[in-house]
Symmetry: C2
Amino acid sequence: MKRTKQSAKEGAEPARRADAQRNMETLLKAALAVFGKSGVDAPVRDIAEKAGVGVGTVYRHFPQRSDLIVAVFRQEVDACADAAAELAAKYPPVEALSRWMQRFAEFVATKRGLATALHSGDPAYEPLPAYYDSKLRPALDSLLKKAVAAGDIRTGVAPGDLLSAVVSLCRPAHDVASDHTARMIALLIDGLRFGAGGKR
Amino acid sequence: MKRTKQSAKEGAEPARRADAQRNMETLLKAALAVFGKSGVDAPVRDIAEKAGVGVGTVYRHFPQRSDLIVAVFRQEVDACADAAAELAAKYPPVEALSRWMQRFAEFVATKRGLATALHSGDPAYEPLPAYYDSKLRPALDSLLKKAVAAGDIRTGVAPGDLLSAVVSLCRPAHDVASDHTARMIALLIDGLRFGAGGKR
DNA sequence: TGCCAAACGGAACATCGCTCCGTATAAACG
DNA sequence: CGTTTATACGGAGCGATGTTCCGTTTGGCA
């Protein structure tokens, strides 16, 4: 036997081939687009076609349909969480907070179909809410802390409460004017500012 | 043309044949049983087999799968609503109320899988919550009124609130002892009695 | 009893999720 | 560079499921 492979560490990365990595990313993009257009129940074949690969390739990367859904969801959660740092670097504290919450509202609104999948009872989706919380709560928390430190908003607001507030604000958005949610969130931010300089 | 049919009014009933009527009822019973055993995702073929008919017969009565689910749901809601009058006739006010709420709790518990179907976004299920409310709220309301008139429970309890209270009590019942819900409801009834003779 | 529209049964069709395996190729080796 | 080999790819095919179609059966009426 020869086995000159695995030059360095072997733990995490199983040394994927370049084309495999490319297809993986292409698939995630295609899935995001197709889920957005046809819902999470869209056929795997549609996603494969959109990505320009065979179904076999889809199942090589995501053994089950739900794995693909989970991957897309996590990717979107990550993007939303990362946006917090970017916004914080680019805007003053309160505006960063405001823009991020609008961003989060969009995320929730576009993932409505996915949310019903989450509650379908399929154990594949069980760990998702925890992931969602572990990424977004710290993200929002850092924005809140900055705004508080700047003296722009009141103290004592729990990030978890704000997240669920936005989620419930998004609930009735399916038949009213589309900017209803945005206005409600703006109102929320104003509410936060109200007690700004106030002690306790 | 001959057309000697439709002797009397023709509005609602299209004059079904006897065997059709029988199969309809058999199908509803079979569907209830199969849904209870295998969940609402059970194959149509299973239901047809259980009912001893062909799939064509199922689709003659219920053009879509969801129509069958809706029919079963409505039947169960009706049965639960009708139970209110029966219990009211057989037991004193508070006991009738108590027994009905236990009955309602069972209904909610066994329809868990169906509830997730309701929230799936399929427009076929859209009118169901309204039906549910229109039948069960008056049923509970009549029981409440009788108990209030008898001076057994306090006034000012909205039936809608009680219904949703029971629903949320049933929520965490999936992993705790099965009589937990029953005890909580008994507690609710006791709470109602507490202010019994109380004015306003 | 004879007729016929209504109802039935189940084969057949269209899709889906998922598997399998022959083929293509990235990349390590000489 | 060519060779080689493990990796990845493509898509036909399988089993399951919702739904349709149509030849056959049957309830109910004259």
